[in-house]
């Protein structure tokens, strides 16, 4: 079967349980089991090839640009691990089917489990280290889900997070390490990398790469000091613990060390880092396991210890040590999985995993007892079980290992670790199964149904048979796997129970006897242990995370404190700093233009502007005054534009100015009329300094610009030259706006239209909220005068408004050739309407003539766009203009231009937008009772009609005239 399929099957299988959640527990477990079985079978088909020493490969280019490819290969090592993963996986699926209770979502469980399984298979079959990284991180993620499977347990949540944090971060380090490795070799394909030992080990980047990769391995395989997450991962359901935390995931780190062994090992760095870490982990894990009362915690620390053992063996860097490592991986997987399952059964049946509450179960649960005893004794390293064999090999290897100059350190500590190991294994048997039967089990324990004990029983059978006949059972497998680890021929070895009386056996004996002694004296030792101050990893981890979170919170909340006044300060300061930097790293020539002299008039205007601005800045707290001053500034700016040959700008500026002031006045009606002092003097001085620097900067910049010529001829020379003959207008600014750069103008009217829409939408949103009630009950801040709509104003408007509309029309039509155009015309027309609204009130005017400003805006934009698209029919691009001169007798010749149509769009959009905005704002002040009945409040003609009624001089009653 293709390797792709073997890797893909578990992932495919993960889909079924998710889909079959409603189909029942059996369907879920069956689908999971069958896919796993298929993958297993697929794997086994490759057994002959693997045993022949061939590597089965499958390649697929995924991301050649990066070198990340879906390349797989299967050699002895991969085969061994894949067998463990899929084989034990099958047993776990079986076991879990009976272990999980009715309330547990079975589909989810199997989905996660198979995801994990697929990721693991992926790791061990990857022939591309980037691909391997993908699977590597996937195992972290899926194990996160599995550990947190029981969502109601806080320990599950915390354990899952801790596992993810530790293994995830290791994975990140490994990414860096792998990338470095890939760069040294020039390829991310394992098969290539494994050929480049020389290049790698001689590279200056060897040590960084080694450390980074080992960080990944150590975190994953729970090596000291990253071992602390594993016991907390025990909050997972027991099948998960048995699978991930004994047989598979934690072995991923070992796998990788074994995988990389040919190119990374053999250096002192490797030895001292790997072997030492392994040794310490083995010792500490065993020691802690001895004092754990929780069955699973005991097993977890035991796992830590055994992982340390394998790590140490790999660290030794010798071929035989590698063989021992491979062999122990197999053995540990069998007995530890069996033990976890047994612990699960005990938990399941008695309702507790606390050793202190257990004891005497051997009669109540004979089957479980048998399984647990055999597995425990293997863990203790007693003959004739498989644990004994690999432990012997380990001890033997320690004897050949010198740490620094000491030849005793490693063997001595190894014996000590083996001693602890024996002790906790014995304790597992003695304190759970032996001793008197108790009366206070939380449940009534008895042996479980066969479904639960079948899987561990099978494993125990393996434990025994491998122990008795290792060479036949696993010899070839170990051989191919180990030669894959070493990457070459192995020295002769034979897996056997009896090597004669040698030092290793002596060490074993010491360990066993010592273990028994420790078991006997456990009570006393426990008191000593509990009295000792020990760093509790979880507390530290929690504290670190809490501190990290707290610190993040402080940093984040301080940096992003929601104070835009500060954000703006930072913005301005940063911009200034960068701009000053850019300036001073550049070069500058002397001015090339003479400054023009300043006559009296501009100087006066300048003086007005400066005074008004200064006053505005210092007296801005009086908001009404500030608006008057803004008016002065706008007026002067407009005048300056006039003076500086920009009549179009001047008109636009002043029109926009007035409409803005009206908007601001409408708004200020509701706002407080003064601004309180919020900032301290220091802050104000600081802001003043920043503002001053910014002012100097902008002034200097524009001054430097103005006293220099353009470095190149400007594109506007073209505009001046082509405005009349190509654009049909003599007002070049207008031709630029509606023709050369008509697309800008198109965008601009859309901006204006959107602004009006936004304002309208905001009004609707605010008036739909409880603000409406506030507005209805709002009293004016100061007494209002009488006579809201003075007669004089109304009458003046009746004349002025038509004239203003006339002016707007005039401005519109002349714009193409003289200052003016659709935009200014639109504003003037809008102001004409505003005049009417101010005179007689919004409601009165609106009632007389309902204008759908939405429609005006929309039609404006559509007319502009349609004009632009008209050019398409001539095969010309959007916004291509056309114009012609019409001569109709007896009229004089006049011009017709599509630009005028475009400008009409502009006019309408502007008019509609301004009016919609004003209308929306006015609605805030509108109150239901407030119907303005008359155009003017005082009208003597209305109040006392003349003696002879004249139909033409009807009072301005809406009833008589409004309906037209």
């Amino acid at each position: 079967m293709s390797l792709f399929l073997i890797v893909a099957l578990p992932f495919l299988g993960a889909v079924f349980p998710a889909l079959l959640i409603r189909a029942g527990r059996n369907a879920c477990s069956w689908s999971a089991g069958v896919t796993t079985l298929l993958a297993f079978i697929g794997l086994m088909i490759n057994l002959p090839a693997v045993l022949r020493g061939e590597a089965v490969t499958a390649r697929l280019d995924w991301l050649p640009w990066l070198g990340l490819n879906a390349n797989f290969f299967l050699d002895g090592l991969g085969f061994l691990f894949a067998t463990l993963i899929l084989g034990i996986g099958l047993l776990i699926i079986l076991y879990a089917r009976f272990y999980l209770s009715r309330e547990d979502p079975m589909g989810q469980f199997y989905t996660y489990l198979l995801l994990f399984q697929g990721a693991m298979v992926g790791i061990v079959l990857s022939d591309n280290i980037l691909l391997l990284l993908v699977f590597w991180e996937l195992t972290s993620l899926s194990s996160f889900l599995l550990i947190g499977y029981w969502k109601h347990l806080p320990e599950g949540r915390q354990g899952a997070r801790m596992a993810l944090a530790v293994t995830g971060s290791g994975g990140l380090a490994m990414i860096a390490g792998m990338l470095i490795l890939g760069h040294i070799v020039g390829s991310y394909d394992l098969s290539v990398i494994l050929q480049n030992k020389e290049a790698i080990q001689s590279s200056p980047l060897y040590l960084p790469a080694l450390i980074l990769i080992l960080l990944g391995c150590f975190t994953k395989s729970a090596q000291f000091p990253f071992h602390f997450w594993l016991p907390h991962a025990m909050a997972a359901p027991t099948p998960v613990s048995a699978y991930l935390h004994s047989a598979t995931m934690v072995k991923a780190g070992l796998f990788l060390m074994a995988r990389m062994w040919p190119v990374l090992s053999g250096t002192p760095e490797w030895f001292y880092i790997v072997a030492t870490t392994g040794l310490i982990t083995m010792l500490i894990g065993a020691l802690i396991a001895l004092f754990k009362d929780d069955l699973k915690a005991l097993l977890a620390f035991s796992t830590v210890s055994h992982l340390g053992l394998v790590t140490m063996l790999l660290g030794f860097g010798t071929e035989i040590a590698a063989v021992a490592a491979v062999f122990h991986i197999i053995n540990h997987a069998t007995f530890k999985a069996a033990l976890f399952m047994s612990a699960g059964i005990v938990d399941h049946e008695t309702g507790t995993r606390d050793i202190k509450r257990l004891g005497g179960l051997r009669h109540l649960m004979p089957v479980t007892f048998t399984i647990a005893v055999i597995a425990s004794l293997s863990m203790a390293g007693l003959p004739p079980l498989n644990g004994f064999l690999s432990k012997e090999m380990m001890l033997e290897e320690t004897l050949h290992t010198a740490w620094g100059h000491s030849h005793l350190l490693v063997p001595g500590l190894a014996v000590l670790a083996a001693l602890f190991s024996a002790a906790y294994s014995f304790r597992f048997i003695a304190h759970v199964f032996l001793g008197p039967k108790r009366s206070d089990y939380p449940a009534h324990p008895h042996d479980p149904p066969v479904g639960l004990w079948l899987a561990p029983a099978f494993l125990v059978v393996l434990v025994v048979t491998i122990g008795l006949n290792a060479q036949a059972m696993v010899g070839p497998l170990v051989k191919v796997a180990a030669s894959a680890v070493t990457g070459g021929e192995l020295p002769y070895f034979k897996l056997k129970l009896w090597h004669g009386f040698n030092t290793a056996l002596l060490m074993s004996t010491i360990a066993t006897i010592g273990g028994l002694i420790l078991l006997v004296s456990h009570g006393g030792l426990e008191r000593v242990w509990n009295a000792l101050p020990r760093p509790e990893a979880k507390t530290i981890f929690d504290a670190v995370i809490r501190a990290l979170t707290g610190l993040s919170r402080v940093v984040t909340d301080t940096l992003h404190n929601g104070a835009i006044s500060r954000y703006a300060m930072i913005f301005v300061t940063f911009t200034l700093a960068i701009a000053v930097y850019a300036y001073f790293t550049g070069t500058m020539t002397l001015p090339t233009r003479d400054a023009q002299d300043a006559p009296l008039l501009p100087t006066l205007a300048w003086f007005c502007l400066i005074s008004a601005t200064a006053m505005l800045t210092f007296l801005h707290r009086n908001r009404q005054l500030a608006l008057v001053l803004i008016g002065v500034v706008g007026l002067i700016v407009s005048l300056s534009f006039n003076y500086l040959s920009a009549p179009d700008l001047a008109m636009t500026q002043i029109s926009v100015e007035v409409v803005s002031i009206i908007l601001l006045l409408l708004c200020l009606n509701f706002l407080p009329k003064t601004t309180p002092v919020d900032s301290s003097l220091t802050i104000r001085v600081r802001d003043g300094v920043i503002a001053g620097v910014a002012g100097v900067g902008s002034a200097a910049l524009i001054y430097a610009v103005m006293i220099r010529d353009f470095s190149f001829p400007t594109i506007s020379e073209f505009h001046l030259a082509n405005s009349y003959k190509g654009g049909g207008g003599t007002n070049v600014v207008n031709v630029i706006l509606v023709d050369f750069r008509g697309f800008d103008t198109f965008g601009e009217i859309i901006v204006l239209g959107i602004a009006a829409l936004v304002i309208f939408a905001l009004t609707e949103a605010v008036l739909a909220s409880n603000v409406r009630a506030y507005l209805l009950n709002r009293k004016p801040e100061w007494p209002q005068s009488g006579d809201a709509h003075p007669l004089m104003m109304v009458v003046a408007t009746r004349v002025m408004m038509p004239i203003a509309l006339m002016v707007a029309t005039y401005i519109f039509f002349r714009g193409h050739n003289l200052p003016g155009g659709g935009f200014i015309a639109g504003l003037v027309a809008a102001i004409a309407y505003v005049m009417q609204y101010m005179a007689s009130g919004f409601t009165w005017a609106a009632e007389r003539q309902r204008i759908f400003y939405h429609g005006i805006i929309g039609s404006g934009v559509l007319i502009a766009a349609a004009t632009g698209m008209g050019a398409w029919f001539n095969g010309l691009p959007f916004l291509t203009s056309a114009f012609g001169y019409v001569h109709l007798e007896p009229l004089e010749e006049f011009e017709l231009a599509t630009a005028a149509l475009f400008d009409l769009g502009v006019f309408l959009a502007v008019l509609g937008a301004v009016m919609l905005a004003l209308e929306s704002l006015s609605r805030f002040a509108w109150q239901p009772g407030m119907v303005t009945e008359h155009a003017m409040d005082i009208n003597p003609k209305r109040d006392d009609p003349p003696p002879e009624p004249d139909p033409d001089a009807d009072p301005d009653q809406p009833a008589t005239e409004g309906g037209t």
Partner: protein
């Protein structure tokens, strides 16, 4: 002769402008300031037209006209604000 007359008028309206500014800067009531701004607007119209006369250009006419119209509207707006709070009611 016209040139001197124009200079004279420039000076008069320029000084007038400064006096308006002084009123705006030193008054205590907003009403007077609005009045001063209104006057300022009218004075600038005069200045614009004068400037047009001085350079024999009519390019400023429309601007002056629009300023005249808009100056009125803004004065009314300010005044309505002071009288009624709401300028469009």
């Amino acid at each position: 002769m016209i040139t001197y007359a124009i200079y004279f008028a420039f000076a008069c309206f320029g000084v007038a402008l400064m006096m308006n500014l002084w009123r705006i800067l030193t008054s205590d009531g907003v009403g007077v300031r609005v009045l001063a701004l209104d006057t300022m607007v009218i004075n600038t119209i005069a200045l614009l037209i004068l400037y047009g006369v001085s350079i024999s250009s009519e390019i400023f006419f429309e601007a002056a006209m629009i300023i005249a119209m808009l100056g009125f509207v803004s004065t009314v707006a300010y005044a309505r604000f002071m009288l009624r709070g709401n300028i469009i009611e």
